[in-house]
């Protein structure tokens, strides 16, 4: 590592309306370093890098690259300056091939004949060099997540980037794939690249990064070399002074065991050989069989898009099962409509809260009763009781700390984290027997995550059963009594809390069966 930093970002400020996302942030990147950008959700890490990549414009501040001041107005400028970014949600065109996605926007040799033979050769070379094994002719829509991420990285490498930004790259990877990724990163650094690694996972950052900068609430907190500090100091940096680490669920070091263990006797939810076929007859989930008891938190692990969403939707009646049986307290509920199930005591936190659980054009109050709107006290004889609705809404807003101007405020005014709070608070607002939660803490900052976890544990104590579907393995390891692992729509195995081991689960997430 030479002395002169390759990149300096100074005094960056950025606000979205009244929300100050970044307040005077500085960031430097040295040559051939892997620099971790650490912080909880909403800390500003992605915003800062989006500015570097030209997707956002900073309100003030400057960017200095190779000692010279630069203006980045769009991704085109960033790419020209040899900066590349791999986003959390892959920006790929599903109906095009890998090759077409990689070369899109670059100047191709045969512009008016679209013969991509030379370009394909180059892509294959890069694949081999950096250990990113991909077939250029494959269609994106046919590829699994882990491979799609390799395509994202190839897009940047193809453009000869010097600086590569990775935004939460391990979200959709098995532990083994994470190791593979880190290896590729080290090869890239050896070849002269500099890498910014955005994450909220402390352990990853400690294992692969040379330097780590912590952001919190849009401000710099600290920047230290890995060896210079301790895990505890970084945790403090991420959460600040207010959070009581002792009572925090997120950072608990095992004192949780007793409260997690106890499980009741009665079986709440039972699935028996449940299968869902899509329109073309391909099975999306198959042979799903398990049961959840009162007071149990049953986890479902797996890389995204392996049937988790379909599982949740079949249980909730959103998509009717093609075959098999679902029972609630012994009663068959397999083809019952969702509204009946919500009334019978099932609550749902969908994975994409904004798309599947929120109404931006409606008021906050209208949002808070969605799904329960036919029940008393909100509705009586077909007419809505506006007073009851507003009162209940006010209660939820204060209990769950939802930042809004009031129950009549428009949904679109809420920030991402608050949208999540609305959906979560709504799920907890009615006494329920079974909670189906899919990535319930996605997008929440650390205090909010703590709050959700403590509510989950409290409901568990009161006998509620929880089906916790999560792509965050740490979350599952922390809270669950048992964990089932899904791969390609099937349950590969179910592990008991006593036998939970990360790499074992990782193997199962890649399809290796375990005879339980």
């Amino acid at each position: 590592m030479t002395d002169e930093p390759i990149l300096v970002m100074k005094g960056i400020k950025k606000s979205f309306g009244t929300n100050a996302a970044l307040q005077d942030v500085n960031f430097t990147l040295a040559v051939r370093e892997i620099h971790g950008l650490l912080g909880g959700n909403g800390a500003g890490k992605t915003t800062l890098m989006n500015i570097l990549f030209g997707l956002y414009r900073a309100d003030s501040g400057e960017i200095i690259l190779h000692g010279k001041r630069v203006d980045i107005h769009s991704p085109k400028d960033a790419i020209r300056l040899r900066i590349g970014m791999v986003h959390q949600q892959f920006l790929q065109i599903k109906s095009f091939s890998v090759l077409q996605n990689v070369v899109l926007g670059t100047s191709v040799k045969n512009k008016f004949r679209l013969n991509l033979a030379e370009e394909e050769k180059k892509v294959r070379e890069l694949s081999a060099r950096f250990g990113l094994d991909v077939d250029p002719q494959a269609l994106i829509e046919d590829l699994p997540m882990g491979v799609r991420q390799k395509v994202e990285i190839l897009k940047a490498l193809y453009r000869g980037v010097e600086i590569l930004i990775l935004d939460e790259p391990t979200t959709n990877l098995t532990p083994q794939e994470v190791d593979g990724l880190f290896q590729s990163l080290r090869v890239m650094v050896k070849e002269g690249m500099s890498i910014v690694f955005i994450t909220h996972k402390l352990r990853e950052v400690l294992s692969v990064c040379d330097r780590i900068s912590v952001l919190r609430n849009g401000n710099n907190v600290m920047t230290l070399k890995r060896e210079e500090s301790s895990e505890e100091a970084f945790v403090r940096g991420m959460v600040g002074e207010e959070l009581d680490l002792q009572s925090s669920v997120v950072f608990s070091q095992g004192g949780l065991e007793e409260s997690v263990q106890t499980v009741g006797q009665n079986i709440v939810l039972q699935l028996d050989q449940v299968q869902l076929l899509n329109e073309e007859g391909r099975s999306l989930i198959k042979g799903i069989t398990f049961e959840i008891r009162e007071g149990e938190i049953f986890g479902v692990a797996g890389v995204a898009d392996n049937g988790q969403k379909e599982l949740a939707e079949v249980i909730l009646g959103i998509q009717p099962a093609s075959s098999g049986c679902v029972r609630l307290y012994g009663n068959t509920i397999t083809h019952k409509p969702t509204s009946d199930l919500l009334e019978s005591g099932i609550s749902y936190i969908p994975e994409d809260c904004l798309r599947d659980g929120f109404l931006p054009k409606a008021s906050v109050a209208q949002n808070l009763i969605l799904g329960f709107h036919k029940q008393k006290p909100y509705s009586r004889n077909g007419f809505m009781d506006l007073n009851a609705i507003l009162n209940a809404a006010r209660g939820l807003i204060s209990d769950y700390n939802i930042k809004t101007q009031g129950p009549t405020d428009t949904g679109a005014n809420l920030s991402g984290g608050n949208i999540q709070r609305v959906v979560v608070s709504r799920a907890f607002s009615h006494p329920c027997k079974l909670l189906v939660a899919h990535n319930p803490t996605r997008g929440l900052d650390i205090p909010s995550i703590d709050f959700v976890y403590s509510r989950l544990l409290q409901n568990k104590k009161n006998g509620m059963a929880t089906l916790l579907i999560s792509e965050n393995l740490d979350e599952l390891l922390l809270l669950c009594n048992r964990i089932a692992v899904m791969y390609r729509g099937e349950v590969v195995g179910v592990l008991d809390r006593a036998h939970l081991e990360k790499y074992e689960i990782g193997r199962m997430m890649s399809g290796v069966r375990t005879d339980a």
Partner: protein, 353 residues
């Protein structure tokens, strides 16, 4: 007590400012639209002030003017509601024209076939037939949407064109009035005529019916559970479905209600105003209804007011063409400009925040 009165005054001024804030963009839009068109007709050599006077005040100069305005108001308001109800679920009903035509056909058919029945039987039958016919004409695109996911803009428009041929057939062949120059049917039985409120100039009771319907619609969308489901469906169909609402049924319901409303407009024209079915009786009510619905931004409370204003402009416009030879389309351009400015002012407000 001192504090209480201060609060009262403050609350009142906040309310006043709120109302002003909502009404002001409309006022500005209207003024701007008038100014723009006034400039154009002034450049063409017409007397601008006289034009303004004619278009705005013809409705109020004579009792006939008032009645004409009210008679236009009824179908305009119903057509606008026929657009805003599906709009609240996110669907665009462009078929008000066809739905109104078949409503008229239904009413005329019953009115002619059973012309001898007494009023207390025939009138309800006529209304029932027309509303049902309109509802069916709304059910067809609704069902096509439900079963085959066919875009309702297309299906409703195509059915309009089909209905043009239907009314031509009915008025030129089936119940043709041999004396009339323009395709028209024979009159419907007198039992099917809507009672008059005022004899001279003739104002039929359809206006009361229409206002009752408007109130009913408002109560439905704002106070009932089914209305909540309809509004929420439009706000996010995917989330509504996930949380138990039968979204596709809501789409269908909204289109069928819309068809019934437009059909009612057709019935009222036949039963109350013309007492027979005349080809092209649906006039330009559809397009104006769409404009009204869009200017009112889908708000069912605002629709009657906007509809009344447009009715004034339309009455004034035909007077303007008669007396000053200014083409009647000028009013239409004014109305389109008002819509444009209202839409733009929305954007400006969002930008400001």
């Amino acid at each position: 007590m001192f504090v209480q009165t201060r609060e009262k005054v403050n609350n009142r001024s906040i309310l006043f400012r709120k109302i002003l804030g909502k009404v002001l963009p409309y006022l500005v839009a209207v003024l701007a639209a008038f100014a723009a068109v006034g400039l154009v007709i002034g450049l063409m050599g017409f007397n601008v002030l006289k034009a303004y006077e004619t278009i705005l005040f013809t409705s109020f100069r004579t009792p006939n003017g008032i009645v004409q305005t009210l008679l236009k108001f009824v179908p305009l308001m119903l057509q606008a509601l026929a657009f805003t109800i599906p709009l609240s679920t996110g669907k665009f009903n462009i078929g008000g024209e066809g739905q109104m035509i078949v409503g008229g056909i239904g009413a005329a058919a019953v009115g002619i076939l059973f012309a001898d029945l007494p009023g207390y039987i025939l009138l309800p039958l006529v209304f029932l037939a027309g509303i049902l016919a309109g509802a069916i004409w709304g059910l067809i695109p609704a069902w096509l949407l439900y079963k085959f996911n066919i875009n309702e803009i297309l299906s409703t428009v195509l059915l309009n064109f089909v209905s043009f041929q239907l009314i031509d057939f009915i008025a030129s062949e089936v119940w043709k009035d041999p004396v009339a120059g323009h395709p028209t049917t024979v009159p419907i039985g007198e039992g099917g005529w809507l009672p008059l409120l005022v004899d001279n100039p003739p104002l039929h009771s359809g206006i009361i019916l229409a206002l009752l319907v408007a109130v009913g619609i408002y109560i439905y969308t704002n106070r009932t559970t089914s209305g909540y489901e309809m509004v929420v469906t439009g706000a996010n169909p995917r989330a509504s479905k996930v949380f138990g609402i039968d979204v596709r049924k809501m789409f269908m319901l909204s289109l069928v209600i819309a068809g019934a409303l437009a059909g009612l407009a057709g019935v009222i024209e036949v039963s109350g105003y013309q007492h027979r079915l005349i080809k092209d009786f649906q006039s330009n009510f559809l397009v104006l209804g769409l404009i009204i619905g869009l200017i009112a931004k889908g708000n069912n409370l605002a629709v009657p007011f906007v509809a009344f204003f447009i009715a004034i402009l339309e009455v004034g416009a035909s007077a303007m063409q008669r007396t000053m030879s200014i083409p009647v389309e000028m009013a239409y351009i004014v109305e389109a400009l008002i819509l444009l400015f209202v839409l733009l002012s929305d954007r400006v407000k969002i930008r400001r925040r």
